[in-house]
Symmetry: C2
Subunit: 302 residues, 2 copies
């Protein structure tokens, strides 16, 4: 089933101990869409400037990604520059230029409005809600991401959006900030009162945790000897997770667990190389092979 | 099969946001022995002062713990005082008094010398080696713990001891310090060159990771809403891990995975209450029930 994503399509400048790129395509919606398109058809809503060339758009070509909702505006595309520490576990934002994104008013093409699966990537909560209101009929599943900037700066707006969301996918710091609870189980209970019925906590090198009515499910991060660039790992996780669910058409406990694994698989590939380099040449067979590797990483019998 | 442990038996003063105890029995060897005794017979080697009463020794009674190797010396027992932060994720050592432990020369009773499983808890590496040399014949499995104090202060001694050890069980910070490698897979490869063929990395609230010739196995920490006191969790993990293996008599990949789970189970019970309070009244049925809960926490099918 079709999966709608709204978020940023951007240019990134990235620096890590493994190298440096001056300008590569990034943005949460880009990472999400490319990742999810390995599983299902994706409808992308975003905005780019006139610096976004036909060559740049090739990242979406030959994939199950519809870009009718990719608006082109006069001006420059969203630009982000960041630098990672020696061990990749800290990052400094060097520059954030919203550019055309500053006046973004997402508009869903008619054929997007029946999307049954919706992912609201990390943008202003009022924009997230606006997109949701343009979807016709009740979507089967709405998930969203957010960040500390909105948690502290637009808390009331964020709370309003959360009322309409099934799954919140954030990291552990954000979980603690949103709930004012350090303990993640207690934090989840707080967040369930805000609307979502499930919480996916992304924990970077420690993996991810799903808390919902079925209980808790944990999946480790795939151990890599040389991760190169963590940019977009969380969005690729979300893409694998939602892509799997949209394709499966099920939200059973078993399906959600598999979605967590496929999310982890896509996140693990994303960090192997700079930007979208690894995902550009990723094959479905590699995804399934790594999912089986996750079995080896976690399974035991009593 | 019999499992030998050498380490500290101590008194602890503990303070966490959940309460305070002025004097409770602690020490790595105590936590380890009580934990392991749910699975196998334990031979304990340690030293206490004349302040260690018959009532104190009751912690070992009615369990499969032999204390013929618990030496009594004139003076006071090892004493440690620590205080945990609001979220239990940081701790400050307020006081460490070695007391009788300062002149500890471990002596194995004759009937201990045939122990096939050996755990060298966190003490000076030369004492660990001394104990190992008193074991007759080749033990089936030798595991050890250590800490940053020995890694930085007695590195040569520690390296010498490591040559005779099969499994090193330390936390992630210690892993990085010992190997001078941030990445845990690369760190493991470094450590394998020092002697051990397996590394168990304890990651606190993130669980534990086994790296050996079979690859990597990860187990999460059991999610608890209200952990009270992390003291001894790592030693209880080690006790469950080694106790399970000694009882199983196998070091197959499947057995090692189960050992990781039973280690996590014992560690999770340990933190539920102060000191050894939870383990004192723990039942085997509870251990097995929680092990099954770990299945629910981690298992998925593709």
């Amino acid at each position: 089933m079709s999966l709608l994503v709204v978020g940023s399509v951007a240019f990134d400048a990235l620096e890590s101990p493994y190298g440096k790129v001056e300008r590569t395509i990034g943005g949460a919606a880009t990472y999400f869409a490319v990742s999810a398109s390995f599983f299902t058809h994706v409808n992308l809503v975003a905005i780019v400037g006139d610096d976004f060339s036909k060559a740049d758009a090739r990242i979406f070509h030959g994939r199950a990604i519809n870009i009718d909702g990719l608006e082109r505006a006069a001006g420059k595309s969203f630009f982000w520059a960041g630098k990672y520490s020696q061990n990749l576990n800290e990052r400094v934002t060097l520059l954030t230029e919203l550019n055309v994104f500053a006046d973004f008013k997402p508009k869903l093409p008619d054929h997007y409005r029946k999307s049954k699966y919706v992912f609201l990537a990390n943008i202003a909560p009022e924009l997230q809600r606006d997109v949701l209101q343009q979807v016709k009929g009740a979507p089967k599943l709405v998930a969203m991401d957010t960040m500390n900037y909105w948690i502290s700066g637009s808390n009331a707006e964020l709370r309003e959006t959360l009322k309409h969301v099934d799954i919140l996918m954030i990291n552990d710091t954000e979980t603690r900030e949103l709930s004012s609870e350090h303990n993640l189980l207690r934090a989840a209970k707080h967040i369930f009162k805000m609307g979502p019925s499930a919480l996916v906590i992304k924990r970077g090198e420690y993996g991810a945790m799903l808390v919902d009515k079925h209980g808790v499910f944990c999946v480790p991060a795939f151990p890599l000897e040389e991760p190169h660039d963590p940019t977009g790992a969380g969005d690729c996780f979300a893409g694998g997770f939602m892509g799997y669910l949209a394709n499966a058409g099920s939200q059973s406990d078993a399906a959600l667990r598999r979605a967590m694994v496929y999310g982890s698989v896509l996140g693990s590939f994303a960090v192997e190389e700079f930007g979208l380099d690894r995902l550009r040449r990723l094959k479905k067979a590699e995804i399934h092979a790594r999912a089986r590797h996750f079995l080896k990483l976690t399974q035991f019998a009593l």
